[in-house]
């Protein structure tokens, strides 16, 4: 009777360096982007609430990590990224998208400037190979070398209102000096670690990267501080409340960042050509026919990705993400709809198993604590 949203266990799935830790914790494992990953340990809702009230840890080692080195990183990334690297400085990271010429999205990602000649980039698990090829295919004559560190390094997100206070007790740097989106290389219980003040939960917290050999020691140290292991289920419900875009849902190779509401990411970068620039700047100034909105339900039910959205009998769009919000105790979602219906509190209908349920266009984010 049970299908976990089409997710099946595939025996060839890769294991992260924390695989044994998840098994020992009794996690329910699923295949996600080719990796055995914990969808939950004990309860998605308990894990979600732990991150909102205390602190949680997530294995995000399935995500990709590239090292970029060379003299020409700046002009290269200005060409392939839509955000503006003039806003970046050493020790700082930046969220951006790589787009196709038509403005749709290759991937969304974060890169961190260690020095002008050395950047670290974190990409979506499902897009690692595609991104590596895409980046390399656009290097041309620029002096840039990209190394895929995805399988040499592990990544852990440590998120929650207590993350600062707890992590401070085991690192040799003053975390209060690291502002949002900044990072440092330092020591965690004498192990070399990369710590960035970034996250995907709508809470304060950090994302850590380390050599594979240190992963389980770091994981156990964070658990000893009282952080609750949290799986992909909680990661998704937290990011949906915070209304962060997820590749394959709100953005993909058929949706542009402007349609997804990421106006602020599309920069004019005057005098600089970048892939997708023409389409995206035109969309930014003239608007698009469809736009991403928040959704809530008046009737009772749960909405899921791809459910159709109607207004007075006419199909006007589809749900990109949906689910139950443990924080708000109600059904929430995001959907891409025709722009004329985007006003907050517009009544819409969502088709769930052949029934039309009443809902509303709602403001986003639903919840954020950062």
């Amino acid at each position: 009777m049970i299908s976990i949203n089409g997710v099946e266990i595939i025996t060839e799935s890769k294991k992260t360096p924390l695989y044994d830790a998840h098994i020992n914790l009794g996690a329910k494992m699923v295949d996600f982007a080719g990796f055995f990953m914990p969808v939950q340990y004990e309860s998605i809702i308990k894990e979600h609430n732990a991150v909102r009230t205390n602190a949680g840890i997530f294995d995000i080692s399935h995500m990709g990590e590239f090292l970029l080195e060379g003299e020409d990183i700046f002009p290269f990334l200005q060409f392939v990224m839509i955000n503006d690297l003039n806003l970046l400085e050493p020790s700082k990271g930046q969220y951006s998208c790589m787009c196709y010429e038509n403005g749709t999205v290759v991937d969304d990602l974060v890169y961190y400037e260690e020095t002008p000649q050395r950047f670290r980039m974190i990409v979506n698990a499902s897009n690692v190979e595609k991104d590596f090829k895409w980046l390399n295919n656009h290097i041309g004559d620029w002096n840039v070398k990209i190394t895929d560190l995805s399988y040499q390094r592990a990544r852990i997100a440590f998120q929650g209102p207590k993350a600062d206070e707890l992590l401070q007790t085991i690192v040799d740097t003053d975390l209060s000096e690291i502002n949002r989106f900044y990072f440092r290389h330092c020591k965690l219980n004498d192990l070399p670690i990369f710590i960035a003040r970034t996250g995907y939960t709508g809470e304060k917290g950090f994302e850590l990267s380390m050599d594979n050999e240190y992963a389980s020691t770091v994981w156990n140290s964070l658990m000893e501080l009282g952080a609750k292991p949290a799986g992909l289920g909680a990661r998704d419900s937290l990011r949906l409340e915070a209304s962060y875009s997820l590749y394959g849902h709100e953005i993909n190779d058929k949706i542009t960042p402007i349609e997804a509401g990421l106006f602020w990411l599309v920069k004019p970068k005057e005098g600089i050509d970048y892939i997708g620039k023409e389409v995206l700047l035109e969309q930014k100034s003239k608007g698009t026919n469809r736009t991403l909105v928040g959704l809530s339900l008046i009737d009772r039910g749960i909405i899921r990705q791809d459910y159709k959205i109607y207004k007075d009998g006419n199909e006007i769009g589809f749900v990109t993400s949906g689910g139950f919000s443990p924080t708000l105790q109600k059904t929430i979602g995001l959907g891409l709809i025709k722009k004329e219906f985007k006003e907050i509190d517009t009544e819409i209908q969502i088709e769930i198993r052949d029934k039309l349920l009443k809902g509303l266009v709602s403001s986003t984010p639903f919840f954020r604590n950062v």
């Binding site: 009777m1 049970i2 299908s3 976990i4 949203n5 329910k28 969808v39 939950q40 309860s43 998605i44 809702i45 289920g233 998704d236 419900s237 009772r300 039910g301 749960i302 899921r304 689910g323 139950f324 443990p326 059904t331 198993r353």
Partner: protein
């Protein structure tokens, strides 16, 4: 793993249970099924009076991450649903065999009861799923 199976009820291969009393059956999902689904947040209950054949989908069980169908363990008419689940669907997690019952049916063909599984037969199904 111990799934708290009961001796006094019958099971299906699709993880429903039914407690039979005369021609009335009380139906729910097993502890194994609720564990597989995870935190249950909504149950779409059927209308009273609906008559359905064995194996038909009769209710949808939504957890945070998954959707499960409740199938009719035998043919019958829906005579009652557990209204308490509208406010507290998580009772199916906490008490799948008692307070978390889902619906009551009037059994149409008593000979279909022979197709239901005993506790030993159902245990084999769970074990064959590798959990």
């Amino acid at each position: 793993m111990d799934y708290n199976l009961r001796e006094d009820i019958k099971y299906t291969a699709s993880h429903e249970w039914v407690r039979v009393d005369g021609d009335i059956g009380v139906v729910g999902i097993t502890s194994y099924a609720q564990h597989q689904l995870g935190d249950i947040v909504f149950i779409e209950l059927p209308n009273i009076g609906l008559v359905l054949e064995k194996g038909s989908n009769v209710a949808e069980i939504e957890s945070v991450k998954a959707v499960g169908d409740l199938q009719m363990p035998v043919s019958g008419e829906i005579i009652e649903v557990n209204k308490a689940l509208e406010g507290t669907p998580e009772m199916v997690n906490s008490s799948p065999f008692d307070d978390g019952w889902i619906l009551k049916i009037k059994i149409k063909h008593s000979d279909e009861l022979g197709t239901l599984l005993s506790i030993e037969e159902y245990k084999k199904i769970i074990e064959s799923e590798g959990h």
